[in-house]
């Protein structure tokens, strides 16, 4: 096995980096792949919360880098998905505790034992961002359909290109089809026209995401969630499977059926 290293980043905070990392990792592990996800947001960790593993942290990323424990000791195995491991960030330190070369070394040691390594990047374009992208084979940029998030995504994509880590892959998160239809939200086409990178996922705005994240359950485990399905599709595309983009409009219920009939 030689793992592929995927870094999830965004520039702007709060667009769904951690949710995406948790769900892509979980979706890969659910399909039988061996996965480790690394929280690189030292000082503001929360990937452990999204995965519901915060009460099992003993050692963290900084302990590994500074040699206080072996990598295996810092890896927390998910009980629901036995192929999924988490290396949590330290909460009491800051980004400067780890260097880009530490991250490269860590990932190189992990590569032999895993299929996928996901890194959850902190927001911003400083040290934490550079730590996260240094070991990456592919970088997923995540954005929301709002002007500020797209602007930051553009900046991040520029930095990725400058570091010769491109081309970036794009996930557009929290799309509200109704608002797009009414012209109140940037459409996927608008965003792609500006960013000019490959789209790998469109995730609808979905309450089930927050409900599940708060409970520490990856939303892909919720069979009814549209967002969960969207993240599963991203995982499939990363593995090289062709999956058509799903219809984001809600077409359940009487009105939905009616619309579908009219459209066809």
């Amino acid at each position: 096995m030689t793992a592929k290293v995927i870094t999830v980043t965004s520039g702007k905070g709060g667009v769904g980096k951690t949710t995406a990392t948790a769900n892509l990792s979980a979706a890969m592990a659910d399909s039988g792949k061996k996965v480790v996800c690394i929280d690189a947001d030292i000082g503001l960790r929360n990937l452990d919360v999204a995965l519901g593993l915060e009460n099992r942290i003993v050692y963290d990323l900084v302990d590994v880098v500074e040699g206080r424990c072996r990598i295996r000791q810092a890896m927390i195995r998910d009980k629901r998905l036995p192929e999924l491991f988490l290396i949590p960030a330290a909460q009491t330190r800051d980004k400067s505790a780890v260097s880009p070369s530490d991250m490269i070394k860590l990932c190189d040691e992990l590569r032999a034992d895993f299929d996928w390594i996901f890194i959850d990047s902190p927001a911003g374009i400083e040290r934490g961002f550079r730590n996260s992208v240094a070991p990456a084979d592919h970088i997923i940029v995540i954005t929301n359909p709002e002007v500020a998030a797209v602007r930051d995504a553009d900046r991040i994509i520029g930095l990725i290109e400058a570091e010769e880590k491109g081309p970036a892959l794009l996930i557009i998160n929290r799309i509200k089809p109704g608002m797009v239809r009414r012209g109140e939200m940037l459409s996927v086409e608008d965003i792609l026209e500006l960013l000019a990178v490959e789209l790998i996922g469109m995730v609808p705005d979905d309450e089930t995401v927050m409900i599940n994240t708060n409970r520490g359950i990856p939303v892909i485990l919720d069979g009814k969630s549209k967002a969960g399905q969207a993240f599963r599709n991203v995982a499939l595309r990363l593995s090289g499977t062709q999956v058509p983009f799903m219809e984001l409009e809600d077409q359940r219920g009487f009105i939905g059926r009616l619309k579908r009939i009219i459209r066809n």
Partner: protein, 228 residues
């Protein structure tokens, strides 16, 4: 034999001139020099003249990291190689001194600018955060996205969509023009005048903005135009 590393004080900070040799040797000599003088130089803005060395983006990135590890800031890389210059620009580094400081100083720039100065050609899309500053003209083949900026002493030509901030004739040259295939900048300045782009209706077409009777006006590109 001339020394491998020479340090000169300039208005914007320090200029480090590297002599002849391979990049590995030069980098080592440079870092050794910086380490020796560590405390004394702390916080300085640095320009490095790498001479004939051809550096890829990774080399420049390493250089920037090494320099920032020593509490210094790399602001510019001077080179005779266009490849190095291109890579330096893509990392947001200046490639000339004189415009090293991050705030462009318009009045002083004005004294050195002449219409028809050297042009630079940038063959890529400028994404948010990128900034191109040149005392002469600036030509971009690609888009200029919102959040990117161009400052030119002369004209600005964008073969693509211009949506960032653009300043032509930054030294006060009121004859400067801005041309773009899709001219919809966040803000457009020519010499001392500032204008915003009105909401566009319909399909974008190539336009040229210039100063006419004390106002910035954008006119559709007309191939029969007499004066450009």
């Amino acid at each position: 034999m001339q020394p491998k590393v020479k340090i000169k004080g300039i208005r914007e900070g320090l200029l480090i001139i590297l002599g002849d040799g391979t990049w590995v040797e030069l980098l080592e000599a440079l870092l050794e020099h910086l380490d020796d003088q560590g405390e004394f130089l702390k916080g300085a803005h640095i320009a490095v003249d790498v001479g004939k060395c051809v550096l890829d983006a990774q080399d420049l990135l390493d250089l920037r990291n090494e320099i920032s590890n020593r509490q210094l800031e790399l602001r510019a890389v001077l080179s005779v190689s266009p490849v190095t210059e291109h890579n330096a620009q893509s990392l947001g580094l200046a490639i000339q001194i004189g415009i090293l400081s991050s705030e462009i100083e318009l009045p002083t720039l004005g004294t050195t600018l002449q219409e028809g100065g050297e042009a630079i050609l940038v063959r890529r899309t400028l994404r948010s955060g990128y900034s191109i500053k040149n005392a002469g003209h600036v030509i971009i083949i690609g888009d200029v996205n919102p959040g990117a900026e161009i400052m030119a002493g002369g004209d600005v030509l964008v073969w693509g969509k211009l949506r960032g901030v653009v300043h032509a004739g930054a030294g006060g040259n009121e004859n400067a023009v801005v041309c773009a295939l899709d001219l919809s900048p966040t803000q457009l300045r020519i010499a001392g005048l500032i204008s915003l782009t009105p909401k566009r209706r319909g399909k974008p077409s190539p336009e040229m903005a210039h100063i006419k009777e004390g106002q910035v006006v954008a006119e559709p590109w007309d191939p029969k135009r007499e004066r450009i």
